[in-house]
């Protein structure tokens, strides 16, 4: 039999036949590895998660006409500059003054899906509009006119320069929801571009809000590109949001990193304590091994092999449990699930092996100083 075979046989015998002892050590290693890999996962996922959060905060690029309005065709041309998966959504807006019960109100025609993407913080009591023939009214408008979701609403519009006695244009729309945003949107009503055109006739867009998942450097490049390819449109970064995004992000990451380092230190202390206990209770065995001719080197090799094996098993457990842990954090804090980081598996296992090995090295070394004569004396 090869020496290495006996070596493995001894290590496995120790791990398997001293299961209850080893389980305690394994538990402390696995918990450490779990928290560690979980935190690292969160650390790397924070930008992605927070990016999503900040996109939720609203548009980060605004398109306006270089002089006056601009057309939907120009907008579509401009949106082509973004990489497909970077464009989160675009909401074109056209504002017109209309009347409800003879009172002037601003009506905004938009693309509801786009508005949902660029303004997801809009709270709608009821539902978003899903087809033409529907309308959402701002909270203030709803209060002024005592409107409720489900009711019909008539908008009227007097064309400019119309001869004196022409009747107003009107359109009847179903109210699907009341818009509650805490902002000026509460004074407006929102309907589809098509319905607005039916009511008021064709007209230019006033503004288009765009949400792009890109950092501010890249956004600037896009903005310039739009200016060149579609001269009728100028693109502006919404600077405040993108800048704060970056600072908050780095602060959050620094915080998670700090916690990770502290946990790593605590884990090492915990594992070291456990391994010290494991080795100390085996001083007699170490003495016996020395008495029958083991060199210090081979004893260190055996015990180190054992603890590294333990570290490896703990690392595998930790990598798996860490993902579950990170997933829980992500779902509860960010409300979205996390991507499994395959690279983290070998890294967690490696770190776990190294930490366990290093922290057991010291107690093992001190244990090799045990006097084999004590064993013979039966103390």
């Amino acid at each position: 039999m090869k020496k290495s075979q006996m070596y493995m046989r001894m290590i496995f015998a120790s791990l398997m036949r001293r299961r209850s002892r080893m389980l305690v050590a394994l538990l402390s290693i696995a918990i450490g590895a779990t928290i560690l890999s979980g935190l690292v996962t969160v650390y790397y996922d924070v930008p992605r998660q927070m990016g999503a959060q900040f996109r939720n905060y609203g548009a980060n690029l605004i398109l306006t006409g270089t002089d006056g309005g601009f057309s939907l065709e120009d907008t579509e041309k401009a949106l082509k500059v973004f990489a497909k998966d970077e464009l989160v959504g675009a909401a074109p807006f056209r504002y017109e003054n209309i009347r409800i019960h003879e009172h002037p109100v601003v009506a905004a025609g938009t693309d509801m899906e786009g508005a949902k993407a660029t303004s997801p913080f809009w709270r709608v009591e009821g539902d978003w509009c899903s087809t033409d023939g529907q309308i959402m009214v701002g909270k203030n408008v709803a209060e002024s006119f005592r409107l409720k979701a489900g009711e019909m609403l008539t908008l009227s519009f007097t064309p400019e320069n119309a001869p004196k006695d022409t009747p107003d244009e009107t359109i009847d729309l179903e109210i699907t929801g009341i818009l509650d945003t805490g902002g000026s949107e509460e004074d407006y009503v929102y309907l589809s571009l098509h319905d607005l055109e039916t009511l008021t006739g064709a007209g230019d867009l006033d503004v288009c809000e765009v949400s792009v998942s890109a950092q501010s450097d890249q956004l600037k490049v896009y903005a310039d590109q739009i200016g060149v390819t579609v001269p009728a449109i100028s693109a502006h970064l919404v600077k405040r949001v993108t800048a704060s995004e970056t600072t908050v992000l780095s602060k959050l990451q620094a915080l998670v990193l700090l916690v990770t380092v502290v946990v790593l230190a605590l884990t090492m202390i915990c594992v070291a304590t456990t391994m010290t206990a494991v080795v100390t209770e085996r001083r007699k065995e170490i003495g016996l091994r020395k008495a029958i001719g083991a060199s210090d080197k081979s004893i260190i090799g055996e015990f180190l092999g054992e603890s590294m094996m333990l570290g490896g098993i703990g690392g595998i457990l930790g990598a798996a449990l860490g993902f579950v842990f990170a997933q829980q954090v992500s779902v509860h804090v960010f409300g979205s699930s996390i991507r499994f980081q395959w690279l983290l598996v070998p890294v967690t296992i490696l770190v776990s092996i190294v930490v366990t090995g290093l922290s057991s090295l010291l107690p093992i070394r001190s244990a090799t100083e045990v006097d084999p004569a004590l064993v013979l004396k039966g103390e």
Binding site: K3, A294, G378
Partner: protein, 242 residues
């Protein structure tokens, strides 16, 4: 040249002379018993011969090498290559089976050989217990595993410190029988014992008292397992002292 020679050995712990000017020679193939009351220095002497301790003063020649002057690392190597140890407590690694415990000695010595280890267990009558853990073995069986482990590497000397101290009579007899076989094969045996019946089967019995060599009884009629006359008087003397 004697296999083992102690020249004016002292082991001093503070005021206490655990060994006080002990000199003795053991020839190759000899079987020597060591007796003496508790605290008389028997284990201290065995530790020194077994390369696990160094004398405060004096020379210990093993195969002509003064082990009192060797480094701890060399002592480990000498212990591994030349000495088989048997203890009063049956020290086995508790998570290794009987055969694995025997293989452990092979592992540190040269190469583990399961077949040979099983043969050694067979010699001590434990072939059918090879895959039992120490906790599944009786005291006598555990001590026989220790004997198998001590003899597996064909050591020049087997040192046994009260090997039968914790054994019942039946197992004591089995272990003493094994010593006979080892002696017949030419192994040098040094056996510490409290039990005159175990001592009297050796060729020579050394009696220690207060760290000094008090008496040496030679079994003139040594042919194997027989009494020697001196033993009777020794017993009476021991009783008188008690």
């Amino acid at each position: 040249m004697s296999l083992l020679e102690l020249k004016h050995i002292y082991k001093i712990y503070g005021e206490l002379h655990a060994l006080d000017d002990v000199s003795l020679k053991v020839e190759k193939g000899e079987w020597v018993s060591i007796m003496g009351p508790s605290g008389s220095g028997k284990s201290t002497m065995m530790n020194i011969i077994g390369c696990m301790d160094k004398p405060s003063k004096g020379e210990v020649l093993l195969d002509g090498v003064d082990i009192a002057k060797e480094s701890a690392k060399n002592l480990t190597a000498i212990r591994r290559d030349k000495i088989g140890l048997i203890f009063q407590q049956f020290h086995l690694v508790n998570y290794l089976t009987a055969v694995e415990n025997v293989m452990l000695a092979q592992y540190y010595h040269s190469l583990p050989d399961e077949k040979e280890a099983l043969e050694a267990l067979d010699r001590v009558g434990l072939a059918d217990r090879a895959n039992h853990l120490p906790s599944q073995l009786s005291g006598g069986e555990q001590q026989r595993v220790c004997v198998a482990r001590a003899l597996i590497n064909y050591p020049e000397i087997i040192l046994a410190d009260e090997p039968t101290g914790n054994l019942d009579e039946a197992n004591e007899e089995i272990v003493v029988d094994l010593f006979h076989k080892l002696h017949d094969e030419g192994t040098t045996l040094i056996v510490v014992t409290h039990d005159p019946e175990v001592a009297e089967v050796a060729q020579r019995t050394l009696v220690l008292r207060n760290g000094r060599l008090h008496k040496e009884i030679v079994n003139q009629n040594f042919t194997g397992k027989i009494h020697f006359e001196d033993m009777e008087s020794f017993r009476k003397e021991e009783k008188g002292n008690a």
